[in-house]
């Protein structure tokens, strides 16, 4: 899933980079696995947050409309 960031020219590892510097000794396999879990976590979280905010905005708007109808 990192392809999106690569395509956008974002250096994923240095951008948020705690422990991602060249000084960190990790096998490529471990790095790849870690990156994948993090990317899945970030992308799925962003989707959930956006859907949640939209859902609650719609609900709140519905309540406000109902209150306006009831009390003017």
């Amino acid at each position: 899933m990192d392809w999106l960031l690569v395509k956008a020219g974002v250096n994923w590892k240095s951008l948020f980079g705690k422990g991602y510097g060249a000084d960190v000794d990790r096998s490529k396999l471990k790095n790849a696995k870690l990156d994948k879990s993090e990317a899945i976590a970030i992308y799925s979280s962003i989707v959930i947050i956006i859907v949640g905010v939209v859902y609650w905005l719609i609900q709140i708007r519905g309540v406000l409309e109902m209150l306006e109808m009831a009390y003017g």
Partner: protein
Amino acid sequence: MGQAVELLPFFEWMETSLLGQIGKSYGGVYAIGQSIHLMSLAVLGGTVLVTDLRLLNIVLTEVPSEAVADNAHKWFKRALLLIVATGIFMASAVAIRMYHNPFFWAKMSSLLVGITFVFAVKRPLLKMPHSDINPLALKAVATASLMLWFTVAATGRWIGFS
């Protein structure tokens, strides 16, 4: 709505089942089930809050986040088990009414997403040493988790007022 229409016979069966009849006929049993459901919800909410607010560096900052997340997850699983069990019992008593309630479906959808998120995304991530995890990933997961479980709780309460 095609799938939902097909579920109606199942909800009708739930209401006429032994579980549904017990819930309908014995108010005391229903009240006990509801009390256990709400207390379990409180425990689950507590574990979610303590884990996610720790990941956001708001509470318990002096305690390692791994310890908080691991211990809270044990109680999260127990609370979830009780919530599902008592929830099935409670829904059985008013199954047809639940079927026609949009907030019931909103709750079920968010609960399903919440459980999937915890066991497929959050836990696998938090099993790693937290110092190795990208801070943005930790904060995103914590925020999404708070949003999800807030939606589960709020839509659950909204069922009673709609």
